[in-house]
Amino acid sequence: MNALILQQLTLTFRTAKGESRRQRTIAEDHAMTGNHPGFGVVMKRITYEPGVARMTSQGGDLTVGGYLAARDPPDDLIHLLGEGKFGHKTHSARVSRHGPEGPPLSTGCDSINGMNPQKVRNRYDAVIVGAGAAGLSTALGLYRALESNRSESSLSPKVLVVSKLQPLRSHTGSAEGGIAASLGNQEKDDWHWHYYDTIKGSDWLADQDAVRILAEQAPGIVIELEHDGVAFSRTEDGHIAQRKFGGHTADYGGHPVRRAAYAADRIGHQILHALWQQCLHLGVEFAEEWYVTDLVVDPPADEESGGQARGLIVLDTHAGKLQAIQADNIVLCTGGAGRLFHTTSNSWDLTGDGMALALQAGLQLEDVEFIQFHPTGLGHTGILLSEASRAEGGVLRNSQGRAFMQDYAPGHGDLAARDVVSRSIMAEIDAGRGVADPSDPDGPHDCVWLDMTGIDGQRMTALLPQVTETIHRYAQLDPTVDMVPVKPTAHYTMGGIPITDRGRVYRWQDGRRRVVDGLFAAGECSCVSVHGANRLGGNSLLDACLFGTRTGQTIAAAMPKADEPNDMTDTSPLAPALQRRQAFMDVLLAGASKAEPTEPALADNQGEEPDTGDDASLNNPYALMGRLGRLMEEAVAVRCDQSSIERGLRGLDHLDADARQLHAHSDTAVLNQEVTAIMEVDNLLTLARAVLNASLRRQESRGALYRSDYPQRDDEHYLAHTMIDANENVSWQPVHIVDMPPKGRNY
């Protein structure tokens, strides 16, 4: 083993085709160690032997060329160089010495790229916003498609995934039940049946060509997920296990069929982790805890086009700095908007950012009035109690102890469709037969009881472990003896950014789809319209993974054909947006220094009742979010009518005015969550207005939307998608009816 002095080691980064992108001698380019990426301290010694470069440091990170090479190397050992077979396939890096000649070694890019790019470029071939199932699937679809065409292409595309959370924190991880696919592993199934069930579940508002793709390609996606590492539950003979789910039937509405592939009760967790892991394998570049503040789209240049996406303004929350990123392709995968409502199963981060970005960029949203409420959210928390709790024998009861579902859905009872059960619960509450959440006995009587006391204790532990644990932990109740308070909880936004079945965002104008060049979307924030007016269980993960993958493939297919990439960064179209957002941030932060409470001064509060007075809540984005949630709940949760919606719109005017007064209370931009929250509130308010107006305009009841003043479905006027923009202009796009003419939807 030779001992080398640091200056003698040179790292050369190469692209797949061998073009030298970067060649740096470590000593020139600050090999650095320290406790934080990019923090430079001491690099003592590097030794070298075939296969491994070793270096001595005082602990900390080695960064090379601005990229993290290894973190916190142990006292004398860094595996700077990975074995070739683990190597990254698109890039590789070589190590050579300036001193005595040694064999060059190749390394996996894995160890070179950090979790966060040390310096995000200004221009990317593709930027994916969001790192849940849809975002990660898009990234994988893109990388894999590029790999398979690599021989034809000499490009080494720059792709970045920007997400406001570390990817593993994405809400995909909370999905419990399963992913639907007609694998037929446990009994005969047919994708045509899945196709039919999804159309029927959608109350015939889904576009049938898209649903056809969904059902037909579902088995392939599930097997791909399995190959990616998802720990599916298994049948005795080693196949993926499947379970029954509401609305999954054989023979076009016949007996229930096992179609939901599952991994105990944590399919979302498994899928999220497997996708992330494969992204690590392929060396996908992430910018974590970056928040996209603006989407810049050029208006249509002519009669044909729908405009051109230019780029994004992003806030690096760690640095507290804004940056413009120019991108040829932008994919929005930001998830749903459950935080429009006070009671929701969604995480705190689902604030409809992508949908609001689209609205603010002058684009439309499709079918946003359709929001699925899961009937059994746990009391005030909104945490989901799986449908399995009723499938295993749980019964819903009102304040008089009556099992009321038999009155609303004779024959189906507690296992009627989600929207039916949710509406029945609300009807009981509206009739004064609701109960208060025991954790807030003086609060409103806006829950009903879920009675699981009839389920044998052992059976409950065996079959409903997650449900039982949730009830214990978050309601401090024992479901074997206690009644559990439940209320409908906002669960899924069926509508969203309108996309083609290739993931392209379009404008609906003059009776046709005008594609916005360079803009894509996937997952819950998008609407390819496979869910229509009501989503079927198991189809959300499928939608995200399938259409995410297709979107990635679409982008990859277009890349080699694109003109020579223009490496000249031209962010001029983004400059005005960046300036506007910077000015906005400056005002927010300047408000803090002027504003009364410096942080320590706030400590004076101790011992006193918290000040819930107007001043405190008016100037607090978190309080404002709570007010919005209650407003939306009164206006459109589960059921609505013209007057409730109009009341909501008037209330929204007040909230808008209050939101304009918001400013930060700390002037430190670094990791200032209040600044992000203020922008999230803006997004929620933008989206709330669209939801209310779309609900107002659709004068019928369909799927998840129940207008008590128009209780019937009206195919004559409303067998069409609502296309609404930020100016409240609504147009109607006819539903794609391919194989199945609309008929009644009875369960």
């Binding site: 320290g34 392939g220 025991p438």
Partner: protein, 382 residues
């Protein structure tokens, strides 16, 4: 009728915990100084001298402990309380949170000296735990009532069984005022972090009543919250988790099946073009059972925070990275078991584990981390 009986049942069980009452939260705060002098995160001295140290890499800024007293029912979670503080008292308090029910792994912190998730720890638990908390777990600064003198660090720095009472090199470090558990970090700093000015600033910010009150923590209904140890605090309770994810990543935490890895091109092509799926890799329920629990890890970092050896990953890649490796070592579909075992058989890999098993208790997914580590030790020996 039913509702009445249920309510009375409920109140028997934990009725007192349902009533809101004043609860004090004592939270370690940290505001980093604006980083104008840190463009592009490079070392300005590197050109002239590659060995130059630019001083501490611990972010500078203001550290203090802040108390909030709010009315809240003890049965609520600590996350509920912090959100209430954000909403009603102080929107500048920063902490990570997302799903709110223990699935996303965002909100690992140190509560009354124990690594825990904000959203799964109830206030009642914390209050009762603080009464029985051994001194070693309580935060040194608070136990002594004096911020500058530390007793024993919250976690031992080495894996030896002897309790280490020696004051670490950085014990008198000003930053340890409210950040005692991170002292292991500063021990590696060749240069002190903050000057005397900062010291006085920091201590000056601590409320005088706080110091007198804290000596009887058991009696007062206080919940003390600090950033997770072993991680660099970035702001308030938000810590840098990049190190943990890098360590996880180092052991190639992704399924490598011979088919897919040997000929990536072809399989990718097949995936891209083929709509007719091949079939899944077969795996029996028994084979699944060997790694299923391991695969439920949410990478929250609690085990790393509890591990006395981890301390930032200098000497040890950490239990979370080992669990991630074990998940694939035990997956019958993975064809690189041997390479994986070799990869973890390093001085800072599984060899560093001293089987202290502090990692087991906090795991929110119920993984017996300590036992799994032991199994790895044995597997590597074979």
């Amino acid at each position: 009728m039913t509702s009445q009986s249920t309510e009375s049942d409920g109140s028997k069980a934990s009725g007192s915990d349902r009533d809101p009452r004043p609860v004090t939260f004592r939270i370690a705060r940290f505001t980093p100084r604006p980083q104008s002098e840190r463009p592009a995160r490079t070392n300005p001295f590197s050109k002239s001298n590659p060995f130059a140290t630019t001083g501490s890499r611990r972010a500078r800024g203001r550290r203090w402990t802040q108390e909030y007293t709010i009315r809240i029912a003890p049965q609520r979670t600590v996350l509920d309380a912090l959100l209430q503080i954000k909403r009603e008292v102080d929107p500048t308090l920063n902490f990570r949170y997302s799903c709110g029910h223990g699935m996303c792994g965002s909100d690992a912190v140190l509560i009354n000296g124990r690594p825990d998730l904000l959203c799964t720890a109830t206030i009642a638990d914390c209050l009762s735990a603080s009464k029985t908390m051994p001194n070693a777990y309580a935060s040194p600064g608070v136990v002594n009532g004096t911020p500058q003198v530390q007793q024993s660090p919250a976690f031992r720095r080495t894996g030896t069984a002897t309790p280490k009472t020696a004051i670490p090199p950085s014990a008198s470090h000003p930053d340890s005022v409210s950040d005692s558990t991170a002292s292991d970090f500063s021990a590696t700093d060749p240069v002190g972090t903050a000057g005397p000015a900062e010291l006085s600033e920091a201590t000056g910010l601590i409320d005088a009543t706080h110091l007198t009150k804290t000596s009887n923590i058991a009696e007062s209904s206080a919940v003390e919250i600090r950033p997770l140890p072993g991680f660099t605090p970035l702001r308030d309770l938000i810590v840098d988790t990049d190190a943990m994810f890098e360590q996880i990543r180092r052991f190639k935490p992704y399924l490598l099946h011979n088919d897919s890895s040997a000929d990536g091109n072809q399989s990718a092509q097949a995936k891209a073009v083929d709509t007719k799926p091949s079939s899944e890799y077969r795996q029996t329920p028994e084979e699944l059972a060997r790694y299923e629990l391991l695969s439920t890890c949410i990478a929250c970092g609690l085990c790393q925070g509890a591990c006395p050896i981890y301390a930032g990953g200098e000497a040890f890649a950490g239990p979370a990275a080992m669990i991630a490796a074990a998940r694939f070592i035990n997956d019958s579909r993975d064809s690189h078991r041997q390479e994986r075992l070799e990869a973890i058989d390093q001085v800072d890999g599984i060899q560093a584990c001293q089987s202290i098993r502090a990692c087991t208790r906090p795991c929110p997914r119920g993984i017996d981390v300590g036992e799994e580590m032991w199994k790895l030790v044995e597997a590597v020996k074979e």
